[in-house]
């Protein structure tokens, strides 16, 4: 460790502005801060001194995502073994999934970080840690069968159009990971929906055993095959086909616990998303026009990406509402709209992605009116005191 520190100190002068490698200033800076805690302080602007800086925040979120990632890898193997009708061991399942998921991770990190570094170089700012989380989220919200070049395109789109043009990490309006997914969803719908994409190997015409469909619980429900929705236990534990990270609600709950205990995820948003989803669900149960509306409200919470979106996507501190009251409104509408799209919109089986993106667009507006209302309230109070 000491030797590394000395080495970095030795080569540092070469990377100062105006020196031999001055143009790689921010790349050097990124690696230095990645390896060591820098002793730099902010020089201008108001800021809060806190133990939890951006690097630490991002590290906690990645830690919270690890359970879903590991389970997702195992589940990729498990679904494949179900499809070919063989009984694999835990390690066989995990190894198969590991080899399938790792390339997705490498591509998303490689492309995304490459673009981040290029932008940081050309614009002369530091490389931010924001993409470390986005880079792991992108593979987690995709089906396992998606081709690698699509992952690359989607990542490039979301990093450039969704984030860098707005000024980089912390300035984006839409959640970059969901933007990548939405981009693929509308550009290459055949690779992002249907019953063949969720299980590795199924799309290439491999022989599946009889009785194996590869359909997700949501597509079962959308086609009114309510009987073939897997058992609650299976859906909760995650033994179902789906996007890599979304299947296991247990792993997501572990992640949620980590986020809540460290105070990095907003409990207001998580709670209000659940409340919004439940109230839409109960509303449908009362209306009960078609079989899909009869699906119990609580069951919606463990189907599809609802839990994953509520814990990891809606709570994004940049794109969600910033005010506390705004968070309640934002979360409630996310949950409500997600179920509305699921049940009422035959074009999309899952509504979580689009409802979060939609509310991202409205979050600043919600904040604006919450702040205005607060100003009005305080003004009234002040006038009362003055009288």
């Amino acid at each position: 460790m000491k030797a590394l520190r000395n080495y970095i100190d030795k080569i540092k002068p070469n990377f100062q502005k105006g020196a031999k490698f001055g143009m790689f200033h921010s790349t050097f800076d990124a690696f230095e801060t990645f390896l060591f805690v820098p002793n730099k302080v902010t020089t201008k602007g108001s800021h809060i001194r806190d133990f939890v800086d951006m690097k630490r925040t991002m590290t906690v979120v990645i830690t919270a995502l690890i359970p879903t990632l590991l389970f997702g890898m195992w589940n990729v193997g498990y679904q494949h073994s179900l499809m070919i009708g063989e009984n694999w061991t835990l390690w066989q399942n995990f190894w198969f999934g590991f080899l399938k998921v790792l390339p997705l991770l490498i591509v998303s990190y490689g492309v995304g970080l490459g673009i981040e570094f290029a932008f940081a170089q050309s614009r002369g700012h530091e490389v931010n840690e924001g993409f470390l989380v986005t880079g792991i989220l992108i593979p987690l919200v995709l089906p396992v069968g998606v081709p690698l070049w699509m992952v690359a395109i989607a990542t490039a789109f979301s990093v450039i159009i969704g984030k860098e043009v707005f000024g980089g990490t912390g300035m984006n309006v839409f959640n970059p990971a969901l933007l990548a997914r939405a981009f693929l969803f509308f550009a290459y719908p055949s690779h992002m929906s249907g019953d063949n994409v969720w299980v590795a190997g199924l799309a290439h015409g491999a022989k599946a055993v009889d009785g194996f469909s590869g359909a997700t619980p949501l597509s079962n429900a959308a086609s009114y095959h309510i009987d073939s929705i897997p058992s609650t236990y299976d859906m909760f534990m995650g033994y179902i086909p789906g996007s890599i990270g979304e299947t296991s609600k247990l792993a997501i709950l572990i992640g949620a616990a980590i986020l809540l205990i460290t105070g990095i995820g907003s409990w207001r948003i998580m709670l209000s998303v659940v409340i919004g989803g439940l109230s839409a669900g109960f509303l449908f149960n009362i209306l009960s026009v078609n079989p899909y509306m009869d699906v119990p409200a609580w069951q919606h919470l463990i189907m599809g990406g609802f839990a994953f979106g509520a814990v990891f996507m809606a709570t994004d501190p940049v794109t969600a509402a910033q005010t506390n009251k705004g968070k309640w409104i934002f979360g409630f509408l996310v949950g409500f709209m997600a179920l509305l799209v699921r049940v009422l919109n035959p074009a999309y089986p899952e509504g979580m992605m689009l409802s979060i993106l939609l509310m991202n667009a409205f979050a600043p507006l919600i904040d604006h009116y919450v702040v205005q209302a607060n100003i009005k309230k305080r003004l009234k109070r002040a006038q009362k005191v003055a009288q």
């Binding site: 969704g162 043009v165 000024g167 300035m171 799209v341 919109n345 689009l354 939609l358 600043p364 604006h368």
Partner: protein, 205 residues
């Protein structure tokens, strides 16, 4: 009644004037710098649309459609004046905007001051003409349907402009690349918001 609700929801969310048809972009981009002014313009658009679409509906039904003039004299039943619809609609919109302006100025000076330059500007907003042309093209059956459609389209436009105005207020201090500042980022934002509004595509009520 159900039909009216359907038309209303469709025109606000699914067939949103801005995000589905990209109409009324000039004032949408030019005036959306702060929430307050864009709310003023939005209210004016709602107001004008809810009046012009039903009026144009009546024009269309009793003057322009093939055989529409037969109420005047039976010999006019073979007349088809629909080629005049563009000029007719624009004339109606322009004169109604003038009328509305005068009425508002007379009876509610505070609203008139709040709307300011926006009222006359609206006369040339293509979302307004678009609303009337959609009304003609989609062949709404009754006056109520046309009114609800006009109101809904106006509200959809209102929603679009205040939401982008809030975002533009938020990103005012972001370090956006120089060439993209101002209109450039507004175009990109509109596209991204269009993706978000795809949420409603295909909803059937």
């Amino acid at each position: 009644m159900e039909n009216l609700i359907n038309i209303f929801v469709r025109s606000v969310f699914i067939d949103n004037m801005v995000f589905a048809y990209f109409l009324g972009m000039c004032s949408y981009l030019a005036v959306s710098k702060t929430v307050k002014t864009s709310a003023g313009l939005g209210v004016a658009v709602v107001f004008v649309m809810a009046i012009t679409v039903p009026v144009n509906y009546l024009m269309n039904k009793f003057l322009l459609l093939p055989g529409a003039l037969s109420w005047l004299h039976p010999s006019l039943a073979s007349l088809d004046l629909s080629f005049l619809s563009f000029i007719m609609f624009i004339a109606v919109i322009a004169s109604i905007v003038q009328l509305v302006e005068m009425v508002v100025e007379k009876y509610s000076p505070s609203l008139y001051n709040a709307l300011g330059i926006f009222l006359p500007l609206i006369a040339v907003n293509c979302a307004i003409l678009g609303g009337s042309l959609f009304m003609q093209e989609r062949e709404y059956e009754t006056l109520a349907e046309a009114t609800v459609f006009g109101l809904g389209s106006g509200l959809g436009w209102f929603l679009a402009i205040i939401s982008i105005a809030a975002i533009r207020e938020k990103i005012k201090y972001s370090n956006i690349p120089k060439p993209l500042r101002g209109l450039g980022i507004a175009f990109i934002l509109t596209g991204l918001m269009g993706i978000a509004f795809m949420t409603f595509m295909g909803i059937k009520l």
